[in-house]
Amino acid sequence: MTSQAKRPAAVLGTGQTHHRAKRLDVSMPGLLREAIDRAMADAEVGWADIDAVVLGKAPDLFEGVMMPELFLADALGANGKPLLRVHTAGSVGGSTALVAASLVQAGVHRRVLTVAFEKQSESNAMWGLSILPPFQMPVGAGAGGYFAPHVRSYIRRSGAPEEIGAVVAAKDRRNGALNPHAHLRQPDITVESVRASKMLWDPIRYDETCPSSDGACAMVLGDEAAGDAVPGGAAWIHATAMRTEPTTFAGRDQVSPQAGRDAAAALWRDAGITDPLSEVDAAEIYVPFSWFEPMWLENLGFAEAGEGWKLTEAGETALGGRLPVNPSGGVLSSNPIGASGMLRFAEAARQVMGRAGDHQVDGARIALGHAYGGGSQYFSMWVVGSRKPGD
């Protein structure tokens, strides 16, 4: 059993909505179509070209609709076609793209539409996350409260200076100002202003946290012939990886989970990358709280353990640096939870297609899309390139 059976697959086009706290101007079907119509126009395909649809989003309680793919079938153009619905917590946008890719890689379909969304304003996400089931330890602190101890542990372990989180936040929000779709666009934000913002969950400050957004992201994926036909070049999928571990158990490393390290090792191996820092040109990494940039740089193998913050501090993760991280503004600028992972994957594709507009990384040929979810336990990632694997 070998990967020879795997067929080439590529991103043919991407689309996303404008991300806002409340998209009161559109219904759920309208929100999805905003992203889908843009992705299909970008890919230059019509409905007859789409063989299957794969939809992802985070918990159904967020919108109050059980299995919303069912009522969305009309808006998704899925009637009479196969429709799959993926849910892997916060990593779902990434794993949804990977399921769509596997439909092409397995030789089942030629072109697949994949879309992920969250319309958080339809309900209260904190409520959705706070229902206390019996026999489970209540966290009662939201995502920030859950992750703050991990961040504090990272700082203690690595000896990172305390302003690193603010460096990331200021960078990502300034990048977001270059992205017309971003929810938060703050060209004038500074490290000092971030550090002056309110402390929410020590050591995480207000300006170091992601917003709560309504939004959607879509991509059209295709086989080798479809990829070859993309004007200006498709984004070819070089490798994919997913790994999962339990939320809690004695000895679990919540600062750098083994599931993330294992997924990254498999990803780089399959992509033929031996030195990620020098071989990857741009990285869209799932950073909902600013300190996760240095944490994931280490978990992904861009830096040795305890060294990730040095890349951030030296400006190497800024646009123009050695490894621009989140040129789109990232999750810190827009966070429609179910779509956030797919946005990372789509932004990586846009970079290697040369379609990233004002946040384009010059000459980007290899890019990473990364997502994580649950209690830092679900990981999903891909490497895309401007050339076909092996070329």
Binding site: M1, A5, G80, L83, I131, T244
Partner: protein
């Protein structure tokens, strides 16, 4: 592209209520042990894991995360989840083996319907802007569908009772069935309506349960079991959610999936029909003639664990090939109101 085969199937007893936590993942633990025992595989031999379940049935967000604990997912595993019946998780696992990424996979589904009021919970699958606010529950919608067929002369109340009587009689041979019975058609027709024209026997029971199916690339499968059930076709389709916009007496998605999967010539068909009249719709759409043995397990009318029942149909269809009692079988799974979404798999013994 390697062909893929089913090599193991385990299911929990179908019961009205289990004593465990609301997500019901405890039901999985003995099933995993049984699946390993059947296939000779261990946890570390599994290349890919995929599950189907529902947060709304469990009444909380991210309910599937608890199942990762039941698996003992450390060292970390390659895993995914669909918020659908686990028959669609089975489809995702089939893809992973077809594309050559792994050569074994374990698929599981679980649902504890007793944690809430199922017929009201399922009303939340409807369009939230126009339909769900009217709270048409799942049984009422099925009753509308049954009435459409009665009015069109496609079936009679007696036809429906015959489906129920056969299912209950067959369930007597299935130790996992929630209930079985020997009541005749006349006796069943003498019972009161629950939602006109549906009587108690026309409606699948509310069930807690779980199922596990193990898959392998065909070459690997032959090393592990004597008679792997090779998947020769698997397809799924969805229809419009607009209840007033489609002919409820038909299921075009089932017909299209059946054609694409190659439904002709099967000896046994396990159909996921939670209402008696839906079995008649499915038989017609799949072109299953009088010679095809329908639901020898008793079907979901005698035990319907949400999000595991479709996968269990695949397991039941595979079981007959694994046991050497059939050569070509069909499994069907459904999702959504009034048979909106349907999956068909055809399994074969290859010598």
């Amino acid at each position: 592209m390697p062909d893929v085969a089913v090599i193991g199937f385990a299911q929990a007893p179908n019961v009205r209520e289990t004593p465990g936590t609301t997500n019901g993942v405890e039901m999985l633990v003995p099933l995993l042990a049984e699946a390993y025992q059947q296939t000779g595989l261990s946890k570390r031999d599994i290349g890919f894991w995929c599950s189907g379940s529902s947060d709304y049935v469990a009444g909380r967000a991210f309910s599937f995360i608890a199942a990762v604990d039941a698996l003992g997912a450390f060292p970390p595993i390659h895993e995914s989840h669909v918020e659908m019946d686990a028959a669609w998780a089975f489809y995702e696992a089939w893809l992973k083996i077809r594309m050559g990424e792994v050569d074994t996979a374990l698929v599981y589904g679980f649902g504890k319907s007793s944690a809430g009021q199922l017929r009201r919970v399922l009303a939340l699958q409807l369009d939230p802007y126009f339909t769900a606010p009217l709270w048409p529950d799942s049984i009422s919608i099925a009753a509308l569908q049954a009435r459409c067929g009665l009015d069109a002369g496609l079936w009679s109340e007696k036809d429906l009772a015959e489906v129920a009587a056969r299912s209950r009689a067959d369930a007597a041979g299935n130790p996992f069935a929630q209930f079985s019975g020997s009541a005749g058609v006349a006796e069943l027709l003498d019972t009161p309506m629950v939602a006109d024209p549906l009587r108690r026997h026309d409606i699948a029971p509310v069930t807690d349960g779980a199922a596990v199916v193990v898959l392998a690339a065909e070459d690997r499968a032959r090393d592990l079991v004597e008679r792997p059930a090779v998947i020769t076709g698997i397809e799924h389709r969805v229809d419009s959610p607009e209840l007033g916009g489609r002919d409820l007496t038909r299921s075009p998605s089932t017909a299209a999936a059946g054609r694409a999967a190659g439904a002709e010539g099967v000896e046994v068909a396990e159909l996921h029909a939670p209402f008696t009249h839906q079995e008649l719709i499915l038989r017609r759409e799949l072109g299953l003639g009088a010679g095809v043995r329908i639901n020898p397990s008793g079907g979901v009318l005698t035990g319907n664990p949400m999000f595991a029942a479709g996968l269990a149909r695949i397991g039941e269809a595979a079981k007959r090939i694994l046991a050497g009692t059939a050569r070509r079988t069909l499994a069907h799974a459904t999702s959504g109101p009034a048979l909106q979404q349907n999956l068909v798999a055809v399994l074969e013994r290859r010598d």
